[in-house]
């Protein structure tokens, strides 16, 4: 009887795990199928042209790809040092008493719904960014744009990166630190050793944050300005893949238009899968060591 239970349980959990894989494959397949019109019509130029004209039925996704990668990269640039600082403080320096509340508070950031971040972005962050842009003389000084999007993404990414980095640091064998101290290292030098040991895992934590930033939709849509502009300027309104999907999907009644949108979804799906797989690989490497 109990053996039956074992087998049944194994089968059930195995089936569920397999189901996840099937779902991922199914999503990939369905996205490809439903974007076939656009893939056939535009081919590779879909990824390299800048015009997005639903009226004329002319679609190029470059501004969205640019905006997605650029906003996520900027967000990482802001979030990584902060997240690492939090992780190091919590795992290495903070008094025991503070550890739990600090962990809880950073993780609370991840629990806030993105629409709330978006509203906060519109009413608090955007006016501040606008004032900053006016002071710095950046045009067009609207407040909404790449800069605001990157800032909001950074706040959203911090809890992810910092909690994984904290776990990584916790997993660094204490022998490493002890050895450093034994050699007469200062605390700072011992921390450096620990970070060095967990380097690839911390890279993984950063990439996980990147994956999170790539797919973020609502908060970004609300502050990025939604314009198909490709620019390095953080003051310029731009666009992301997730944002254009959220914006235009419901009203896209034309077949080709719909297929073009789904093709963007397909691309977003692929890069998210790749980035997440890479980050997981890096994290496993440290945990296995």
């Amino acid at each position: 009887m109990s053996r039956h239970g074992d087998r049944g349980f194994r089968f059930a959990t195995g089936a569920v795990a397999g189901l996840v894989l099937l779902i991922v494959l199914g999503i990939g397949f369905e996205l490809t199928r439903q974007s076939s019109l656009s893939i056939r019509k535009f081919g590779f130029s879909f990824w390299t042209t800048k015009t997005w004209d639903p009226v004329a039925g002319d679609f190029g996704a470059l501004p969205f790809i640019w905006g997605t990668l650029y906003s996520s990269a900027l967000a990482l640039l802001i979030a990584t040092p902060i997240a690492l600082g939090i992780a190091v403080f919590i795992s290495e320096l903070s008094p025991r008493m503070l550890r739990q509340p600090l962990t809880y508070l950073t993780e609370l950031l991840a629990a806030i719904p993105s629409i709330v971040y978006g509203l906060w972005g519109i009413f608090v962050l955007v006016p501040v960014v606008r004032k900053l842009e006016v002071v710095l003389g950046l045009k067009p000084a609207l407040g909404v744009g790449m800069g605001a999007a990157a800032l909001i993404l950074a706040v959203m990414v911090i809890p992810f990166t910092s909690s994984v980095a904290r776990e990584i640091l916790k997993n660094v064998p204490s022998a490493q630190r002890e050895a450093a101290y034994a050699l007469g290292a200062t605390r700072w030098e011992a921390i450096k050793v620990a970070i060095g040991f967990g380097k690839s895992g911390i890279m993984g934590a950063v990439m996980l944050g990147f994956g999170r930033a790539l797919g973020e939709t609502m908060a970004v849509t609300m502050v990025i300005g939604n314009s198909t502009i490709i620019s390095l300027s953080p003051a310029k309104p731009q666009y992301t893949m997730a944002a254009v999907l959220a914006n235009e999907f419901t009203e896209a009644a034309d077949e080709l238009y719909l297929h073009a949108l789904i093709e963007i979804g397909l691309f977003l799906f692929i890069i998210t899968v790749v980035i997440n797989a890479l980050s997981r690989l890096l994290i496993w490497k440290v945990k296995a060591a």
């Binding site: 004209d53 609207l142 909404v144 609300m222 309104p237 419901t250």
Partner: protein, 342 residues
């Protein structure tokens, strides 16, 4: 495992009768519809009121957007659709059967702006609005704006153009008007629920556009009249075809519908209509029904409902901020309802 299956089976059996409740003779089961978000408040009110007066009739409406409504209706997953822009010929051809359009109420789109020191509501013309949205006019004190607003000191602030980022019937109506008054706008931008904007930033929803305009000095945007009225946002007047500057109101929107010859299929854009009192950026919103629905009981219920919505139902419109249909349109529609094969 076995137990689970049994429980599941029990639940399924228990659920079944609930899906097909006994109905009074003549009434249909639940009728599902989907489509435009703009008329959702009045449709909800109508279905609620009609359901109260006719027990057994349950009409369920999902405001998923006009595009979604057309898609769902074409796929026959809903019984009726609703849209802010008439279906295109291609869409009609792609549908499995002929589809009829029935205007239900009227909506309008108004320009809102944020400039300091404007003592009175600004006046706009279609030409000026088109040039602003094309990025041709970039400063508030441009001669073209000043010429429409004698006596108003306009600042030298740069215009910050705000448009909808999400696909929307509001954008459709706005672009429809601007395309009618400006050949350049028609050629470069065109008419659709989402367009390739030559200028400005996109904000999500009426609330996003209004929020951004109110925050940004020098901003101009467009929102639904209802949204502006409910939130007490001041808006500008727009010059109509007869040269009058008309402020949008329920009466001036109804006047717009009266200023257009409505064809038998009701596929008509009423932007830039004739009539001295007509507000030029207005539109019908439509319900969509198959001409030969397979389910006759549901079809009868829908036709009865529409008869009520076009007559008694219209009285609910003004309270919710919608303009009523003009009498001749209602009469024409009541006649057209006879086309539905029931």
């Amino acid at each position: 495992m076995k137990k689970c299956v049994l429980i599941l089976a029990a639940i399924l059996v228990a659920c079944k009768p609930a899906e097909t409740p006994k109905e009074p003779a003549g009434a249909a089961a639940q009728i599902n519809g989907a489509g435009a978000t703009f008329p959702n408040p009045i449709y909800s009110k109508w279905f609620d009121e009609y359901g109260k007066a006719h027990p057994g009739v349950r009409i369920n409406y999902q405001p998923i957007g006009s595009g979604g409504g057309i898609k769902q209706l074409s796929a026959q997953t809903v019984f009726f659709g609703a849209t802010d822009g008439p279906m295109t010929d291609e869409q009609l051809k792609a549908a499995p059967g002929p589809i009829l359009h029935f205007p239900t109420v009227l909506g309008a789109v108004v320009p809102i702006y944020n400039i300091e020191g404007a003592s009175q509501p600004l006046r706009f013309s279609g030409d000026v609005l088109a040039k602003i949205y094309l990025g041709r006019i970039t400063k508030w004190n441009d001669a073209a704006i000043a010429a429409l607003n004698p006596g108003v000191t306009l600042p030298a602030t740069e215009l910050a153009v705000v448009h909808r980022s999400d696909g929307s019937g509001t954008t459709y109506i706005w672009c429809d008007f601007l395309s009618k008054v400006s050949a350049e706008y028609k050629e470069k931008v065109g008419v659709a629920t989402s367009v390739n904007w030559p200028a400005g930033v996109g904000a999500k929803g009426n609330e996003g556009v209004a929020g951004l305009v109110q925050q940004t000095p020098g901003a101009i945007g467009y929102v639904e009249l209802i949204y502006a009225l409910h939130n007490k946002i001041p808006f500008g007047s727009v010059q109509n075809k007869s040269g009058e500057f008309v402020t949008a109101s329920l009466a001036s929107v109804t006047a717009a519908a009266a200023g257009v010859a409505v064809p038998d299929d009701f596929h008509v854009s009423i932007t830039n209509p004739d009539g001295k009192d007509a507000y030029p950026i207005a539109s019908f919103t439509w319900m969509l029904l198959y001409q030969n629905p397979a389910d006759k009981a549901r079809a009868r219920t829908m036709v009865d409902f529409l008869k009520w919505a076009l007559s008694d139902g219209q009285t609910f419109a003004p309270d919710l901020g919608y303009a009523q249909l003009p009498k001749p349109v209602v009469e024409k529609e009541l006649a057209a309802l006879g086309k539905v094969a029931i």
